[in-house]
């Protein structure tokens, strides 16, 4: 008990509320709360509100029109096509990245000389920003300065120059290559951490029991690596469903809108068709879908986690 705890007529009420830990805690947490409420909770609420209204990009008035914005989604060709394309892309990039990252992780798990250099080499593209990476590949694929066509022609693999972004299939494959280059090292590191956590004696025991390398990988490594694999899976799926800038930079959604993703379709609704209400309806649907996918995947992940 100190003097300041006693009521006094000279009164320093400020002292009293400051002594309460709850208040002090809130003072320190106030900036966090301000950012969360003003820049996150409020926008999410506004997205929902906008989706219930007729909300042109410029001017007004904003009038309630629920459920028009949602009812329009099934007839939004670009968005529907975007769903199909985005899901296709996501499935492909999940397989590609998980397999390549797994191979890289197995390579750099080896306690051989120079393995540190390999790890750095595989990881280094993940350090560069995604936009810079996409711009880099835009140059690689270009007809005017790209080295790929001359190289393949010199090796006799192709006769005519290939337009790497010119057809829907080429554009998709080219983007998949970019994303594998950019992210394989990142997921390699997650899998490597998982691999290094597997106790050595388990391998020893499997080998004594007569397991060959592929059997050990299939029945020992893979099951024990499941938590790390699941983590990669969740992150790649979420990233894939939200794909935007890799296609925006490389293809702008072309050719013939064949590489328009869901996010791209949403932004076109907002900033090319000037309808923020409809765009917000798409945003709300995507938000709910993504949160559901996330929650589902995380619950599966947790069940697999011993």
């Amino acid at each position: 008990m100190t003097l300041s705890d006693l009521p006094s007529s000279t009164g320093r009420p400020a002292r009293r509320w400051r002594d309460r830990p709850g208040i002090i805690g809130w003072l320190y947490a106030a900036p966090t709360a301000a950012v969360v409420v003003l820049l996150f909770v409020l926008p999410v609420a506004l997205a929902v509100w906008m989706s219930l209204n007729k909300w042109p990009l410029i001017g007004g008035p904003h009038t309630l029109n629920f459920p028009d914005n949602y009812a329009h989604i099934p007839s939004d060709e670009l968005f529907l096509q975007g769903i199909g394309f985005t899901v296709t892309y996501t499935v492909l990039i999940v397989f590609l990245l998980v397999i390549v990252a797994m191979v890289l992780a197995l390579i750099v798990e080896q306690p051989r000389r120079g393995v540190g250099i390999l790890r750095t080499a595989y990881f280094v593209p993940a350090v560069v920003g995604l936009t810079s990476s996409a711009l880099l590949f835009y140059g690689l694929y270009s007809a005017s300065i790209g080295p790929i066509n001359p190289l393949l022609q010199a090796l006799g693999i192709i006769k005519e120059p290939v337009d790497w972004l010119g057809t829907p299939t080429n554009a998709l494959i080219s983007t998949l290559i970019l994303m594998t280059w950019r992210f394989a090292g990142f997921y390699m590191l997650i899998l490597l951490t998982g691999l290094q956590a597997i106790p050595r004696d388990i391998y020893e025991a499997a080998r004594i029991d007569g397991g060959g390398p592929f059997q050990i990988f299939r029945y020992v490594t893979l099951p024990l690596l499941r938590p790390s694999l699941a983590l990669c899976f969740v992150m790649i799926v979420t990233g894939g469903l939200l794909a935007f800038e890799q296609f925006y930079v490389l293809t702008s959604g072309g050719p013939d809108n064949s590489t328009v993703t869901m996010v791209m379709a949403m932004f076109r609704q907002a900033f090319s068709l000037f309808d923020l209400g409809r765009a917000s309806a798409i945003a709300v649907v995507m938000l709910i879908a993504l949160v559901a996918v996330n929650a589902l995947q995380l619950s599966v992940l947790r069940r697999q986690d011993p």
Binding site: I24, G25, G129, L130, T131, L136, S144
Partner: protein, 284 residues
């Protein structure tokens, strides 16, 4: 990235069976495939391009980059404003917030922490449209400061998680001595705790910098005046022909300018990078 020490007999996994030569050839070729695009860009940014004259070394691409659109200096300055707002605000908010979450009890603490982490669950793209409207309502349309604040929000789960863990790792006795000596909790924070959580702060700064420096989609949506573009948006507008035919030489130079700070930070701050990576991977 710790090196593992063990004899050849302990090698394990399916790669074990490969002979040294095969292993070296395969792993080396893949390594070259990963590094080569970066090397190619760096080299061709200073090489005389096809149709630009006799082969040789030139700085012309960088000179053209200096003057494309509003000019590289403008775009760099814009980017640095966003980076400064992101870094400074992230540090202030997350140091205070991490301290609160680690050391204080207050009503609504769990709710606030959950709400902060919920930012991870919500796709960034879906809240950019309402953010565009909200920033417009407070006259922050097309504002680099507004963009920086949005970046602080997107980084917040990482920053708060990082700083709360940093404070949690510091023994309470450290500041209790200071508090007994009559220090306020803020005094204990600035004089005693800050040095102890410095590695966490470095990591927050590093990733706030990288986010602000590299962010594309938010900058594309929230900035609509070419003179206010950040470097990534300006470079993409170069590709999309906003300034006429695509200038690939300037583009190569731009990719180098944009990538070099990221690479430098990675090599200089590898420890902070990896600790952030681990935190990021767990939170994901």
């Amino acid at each position: 990235m710790t090196a593992m020490s063990s004899s050849a007999a302990e090698r394990r996994g399916i790669v074990r069976g490969l002979g040294s030569a095969t292993y070296l050839a395969i792993s080396g070729l893949i390594a070259i495939a990963f590094v080569l695009p970066l090397v190619w860009t760096a080299v061709s940014s200073v090489a005389v391009g096809p149709g630009e004259g006799a082969p040789g070394i030139t700085l012309e691409h960088y000179q053209r980059l200096m003057s494309f659109g509003a000019g590289l200096p403008t775009y760099l300055a814009n980017t640095l404003v966003v980076v400064a707002v992101t870094v400074l605000s992230s540090v202030v908010v997350s140091v205070l917030g991490g301290y609160a979450f680690s050391r204080f009890k207050f009503p609504g603490k769990q709710v606030l922490f959950a709400a902060t982490l919920a930012i991870l669950m919500v796709p960034h793209a879906t809240i950019l449209i309402p953010l565009y409207v909200l920033l417009g309502a407070v006259k922050l349309t097309n504002s680099l400061v507004g963009l920086g604040l949005v970046m602080v929000m997107f980084q917040l789960p990482f920053s708060i998680f990082m700083m709360r863990n940093s404070f949690d790792a510091v023994p309470r006795q450290l500041e209790e001595a200071a508090l007994v000596d009559g220090c306020t909790s803020f005094g204990a924070l600035t004089r005693v705790l800050l040095p102890a959580v410095m590695p966490g702060i470095v990591t927050v700064v590093l990733f706030a910098f990288l986010t602000g420096w590299n962010e594309f989609i938010s900058a594309l949506i929230l900035l609509n005046d070419g003179a206010n573009y950040t470097l990534p948006v300006a470079l993409v507008s170069l590709v999309q022909g906003d300034w006429g035919q695509v200038d690939f030489g300037a583009l190569q130079a731009g990719v180098v300018v944009s990538a070099v700070p990221c690479l430098l930070l990675f090599f200089v701050l590898q420890r902070a990078y990896m600790s952030g990576f681990t935190t990021g991977a767990i939170k994901g």
